[in-house]
Symmetry: C2
Subunit: 673 residues, 2 copies
């Protein structure tokens, strides 16, 4: 491997080295621990009445039985011949289940996301009971693994002779990726390596089948994630073959003739071929974020990982171009990405309809994965800004305040009647749903939220980088010395952050992200240190000692934002933001027909508060007016200057919307011109 | 039958009694005669290279062979068992066609619409060659008819044992309806009754199988039109059983338990059952225009026909309610109806997106069918207004100025990039297409345009009703006396109309529609006549003699229209209309990014002209401004008051759009507030 030429913001701090004490984030993490993880375990075992069955653990158990039978029978075992039963296989009769695979072809990954979230949670908050459940689950999963290392229940159950024959649509490599991420996390959390070893055996089996060597398969994943996962596996094991396999997958992707063409006979007629899977051309030649948004984010994150470890400048350049395309042309003001429900995908540049939006929760989670990996490549505040934006808005909006229901789709404008009556908007739900048959978002949320400090803080030997301001106690080792920092943060409601130092005196470089939304920031306590601002980060270096205290102040002034003029839907409209939080209007506070409201964007905005599910949240009150309705019989009539009545417009944090029942919501509002 | 209690604007004048001499309409009718009809005949016979094959006449020929074989074999003929091969059946290999049915299940109707248009054309313009072709076509069609009268090639070819087993989806009764409409028209045009007799035999067969009597089928058409057609057949033959069958179909529709449920086993889960087919509840209980828009229009037209002939007040009331729902809540400013591509259907009230619009050409044609039938029930100008609106805008927009390409979908806003890249808008074409596999619109256009005088004028014994002002020579008989009128009309560009009388002196009531868009109308020449305005019609009655001349003046002032405030997409926007013509902006005249333009709706609009395909069309020039683009790197930035540059905005008639290549178009434009 060539030596890396790339120098970024170091690596994420270990969750072991931070104790989150931040009210805001502790509450989120506790929701995951107390609500999401136990509920999800019940879901994985099909024990929640009224919820769509997952079949996940059931599939592993059946696969385990088969694996045992195979061991007993040896060569005498006859593999069934898989018949394609659909992307999601449901039993004909729920009361008479057969020993078949049920659920989506990627159902295994539900376990993997769960175990990953459990691992993070155990690091934050040890829990014997939970760990015992997790160990038992791991036993069930590992029992399903084949002698050769293969571990995907769809084919173990349906017939191993067809493995890796439909890489484009069947998620074996995707499931492998999630399994590996979960395995690495569980090993890091508990030191237990049973699942990690299983993942390695699976990886080794894949490595024996895929690669540039003659006779090996030249395919690559239809749904990316293995790339990121292999890097993680490489980093925890030091085995270079895993990094090599990651690079192989990246290098093969999009080569012509397309590998996937060899898998099938039918012709592709719609649009550019394989754009949906980001495999329309080699990754280094891609310059527009396209296709399925979650797949795209995972690929780009994997590319960033590989660029970091290999110093591949062309890969870094591709990442930068794709970042620009994503963030400067295809991202909602809430940090949502993937504007169209057709393929849960990116639309064309500046096509960001508010009411038809897809903006999947998982896609914004993927954007955060990618952003942090870009920070590991280069310390520039835009990556942190986007991470913060996606996190505090789209990602948090994905979960109800009580942690019991979830959004898959995160629109910026909702008229409930349209969601019920207009098939074009059936993907938009006006209230969060309990669970999904395709349950990718809730467990993805769980694994992100329970590992959030590793996105907030990264480090290298002498430096600590603060990207998000999350309060807690943090420990860092510098050349053998232990430094402790206590961080108190008012985020996301106040920009006041206090950082106190404890422990041995040590030389350290502290890099503080100056949020892009902040104009008149101040930092007190830097006396005697060298300071410098570079690419949106304030670097403070020097010797730190016990009494040192930094006081950061990032004033959060409400600001009305406007969109690029090419975003047709937002012409003449503004969105209200305060610090990292995007606000929205709800019918509950403002009456119906939100589209009749206009705001005076040059008038001062007042701070208020609103009660939602027994909690108090900051609200913003803006001066505006509401267009009067004429009670005309005609649908169309001669123009007359509109009449308005004065209105005080109440805005609530976007992520808290739809927690008071079904109602209209809008992020963007017309200005009174 | 009860005696009709309903008194409307009489019946359409016969096409025999008017010679169209109106430049505007003559050109349209000549396009149909010279371009559309010959081209379509080639299409029906699969002789147009590059066009999707129709298989229509081929199916009739194959069915003819089978019918002959059956006659020869008698009981020894074995019917094949139809297997469902899809709604559209395409051959596996175009070079090796079998003696099977190909095309859409309703492909027969393409012939029927063509023969109907041919019939009207022959009335306007005798043409031996065309009539000979038509007679030969009729021979082919009639040869396919079964001994029992059945005449739908799908089942004749595929197996007669399954006829009438899928009334909801298979269009046997629809094809019967079109066949009957064509047959009646051809009989009226030529006096030849071969096709009429075939239609009667088919009708008699259906009558023998459907009806309220015990043992008869209680089903009704999945796609309506038979209702209108049976009325026409009744009126031309005087056979009451056809009217009775029409009423049976109307009365059964939507009764519970649903007849269609007996045809199938699978459950319907989405939305209200059978709403798509307007069969969710009995027709007299319906009050919202729902489902597939063409089906809806045809049903409502049939209901109006039946109400007129039976004096059924509850049917009339239902028609009025459905009219209000359609016209006051669900119609585009262009007279387009059916706002969603999902099922080519009506969306919920006031949901009229401009860029996602469906607004099928055929649906507006259906709206015109219905509007004229409403006029036959009650003489109120709103029906004429809507007929005029749909005709001059959406319907005419359906055909290119050269008659060689067609729109199926008629959007009110187009960004070509979106049509190419956004799957949600793939139904919207930025330029007209040569032909369609499902070729309903072009032949439907042909039959409407070639019979347009029968929409413009209706009559009863002593009255002549003018709904549209189409120039020509019109003959009317009053108590045995012949009155001749010469009508000169400036429509749609000028509101000046001159009506001169010739022939014997006679008492006559003339009813002139005062267009809803017109404020200061004047009519000269009424001296000595009794005049009265009632429900938007000016009645002038008295004795008319040779020298009488009426001069009508309906000033066409450009007017900016605004939409009801519940139409979310049009808030703060206006559309420009002059007389019956709706205008739009095109990129060709106004540059790209049409959405950046704003208009000053209180400033005067000037008249101009524009060249399109070598023809000169009136244009309107309005004062406006265009928002300047900031060349910012950020997708979102702090609000700043927008800067504008002055702009002269050019508007062209909506129906002429997309005749200068692919470009942006918009009907609605923001006002500068």
């Amino acid at each position: 491997m060539e030596q890396s030429i790339i120098k970024g913001a170091g690596r994420p701090i270990s969750l072991r080295n931070i104790q989150v004490e931040d009210d805001f984030w502790k509450a989120q993490m506790e929701l995951v621990r107390k609500e999401v993880l136990p509920y999800q375990w019940e879901i994985l075992n099909d024990r929640v009445e009224g919820a769509a069955p997952s079949f996940c653990m059931r599939n592993f158990r059946i696969a385990g039985k088969i694996t045992q039978k195979k061991k007993a029978l040896g060569n005498a075992y006859e593999e069934p011949t898989p018949t394609f039963r659909g992307f999601e296989v449901l039993p004909e009769d729920m009361n008479h289940l057969e020993d078949k695979f049920y659920g989506f072809v990627f159902q295994d990954s539900d376990f993997s996301k769960w175990i990953e979230a459990v691992a993070y949670s155990l690091m934050n908050h040890p829990d014997e009971e939970l760990e015992k459940t997790a160990d038992e689950a791991i036993d069930i999963v590992c029992a399903a693994q084949q002698e050769n290392g293969y571990l995907d229940t769809y084919y173990i159950i349906s017939g191993m002779n067809s493995i890796f024959t439909n890489l484009r649509d069947h998620h074996e490599l995707y499931c492998f990726g999630h399994l590996t991420e979960g395995a690495v996390a569980y090993y890091q959390a508990t030191g237990k390596d049973k699942l990690l070893k299983a993942a390695m055996r699976f990886a080794d089996f894949i490595d024996s089948r895929f690669g540039s060597e003659e006779g090996k398969c030249k395919g690559y994943p239809g749904h990316e994630i293995a790339e990121m996962a292999l890097v993680r596996l490489y980093e925890v094991t030091g085995e270079e073959r895993y990094l090599r396999l990651c690079r192989f997958f990246l290098d093969e992707r999009g080569k012509r003739p397309y590998y996937w063409d060899s898998e099938r006979t039918e012709k592709h007629t719609q649009g550019e071929r394989y754009q949906y899977n980001q495999a329309h051309r080699p990754v280094r030649e891609q310059d527009e974020a396209v296709g399925h948004a979650v797949r795209a984010m995972y690929l780009y994150a994997g590319m960033a990982d590989a660029a970091r470890l290999t110093g591949d400048a062309s890969l870094l350049e591709a990442c930068r171009r794709l970042w620009k395309s994503t963030v400067h042309e295809k991202m909602y003001v809430t940090g949502g990405v993937g504007a169209t429900c057709q393929g849960e995908a990116f639309s064309f540049p500046f096509d960001l309809p508010n009411d038809l939006a897809y903006a999947e929760t998982c896609a914004s989670i993927g954007l955060i994965f990618w952003a942090r990996r870009m920070l590991e490549l280069e310390t520039a505040s835009e990556y942190g800004d986007v991470m913060e934006l996606a996190l505090y808005n789209t990602v948090l909006a994905g979960m109800a305040l009580d942690g019991k229901s979830f959004f898959y789709v995160n629109p910026l404008e909702v008229l409930p009647e349209a969601c019920h009556k207009d098939e074009r908007k059936f993907h938009v739900k006006p209230v969060r749903q309990k669970w999904f048959g395709c349950a990718c978002c809730p467990p993805n949320l769980a694994r992100l939220l329970s590992s959030i400090p590793s996105y907030a803080y990264t480090e290298d030997e002498e430096s600590l980088y603060m990207h998000l301001y999350i309060g807690g106690r943090l420990t860092k080792e510098i050349h053998g010395k232990k430094v402790r920092l206590q961080i108190e943060s008012g985020f996301p409601w106040s920009g006041k952050v206090r950082i106190s130092f404890e422990g041995e005196e040590a030389f350290m470089r502290l890099a503080l992200r100056i949020p892009g939304w902040c104009e008149n920031w101040k930092v007190n306590g830097t006396e005697g240190k060298r300071t410098e601002v570079k690419q949106g980060y304030l670097y403070i270096e020097g010797n730190w000692k016990n009494t040192d205290v930094l006081e950061l102040c990032f004033p959060m002034t409400p600001v009305f934002l406007q969109a690029d003029e090419r975003v047709r839907e937002n012409i003449g409209k503004v969105a209200l933001k305060r610090g990292p939080i995007v606000y929205c209007m709800e019918e509950t506070d403002n009456g119906d027909c939100l589209h009749l409201n206009q705001v005076f964007p040059e008038e001062p905005v007042e701070e208020g508060s609103v009660q939602i599910q027994g909690q108090t949240f900051p609200a913003l009150i803006a001066k505006g007016r509401k267009r009067k309705r004429e009670e005309a019989r005609e649908l169309y009539r001669a123009y007359r200057e509109a009449e308005y009545e004065k209105a005080e417009l109440t805005f609530i944090p976007y992520y808290t919307w739809a927690n008071r029942g079904e109602n209209e919501m809008s992020v963007w509002i017309e200005t009174a011109k």
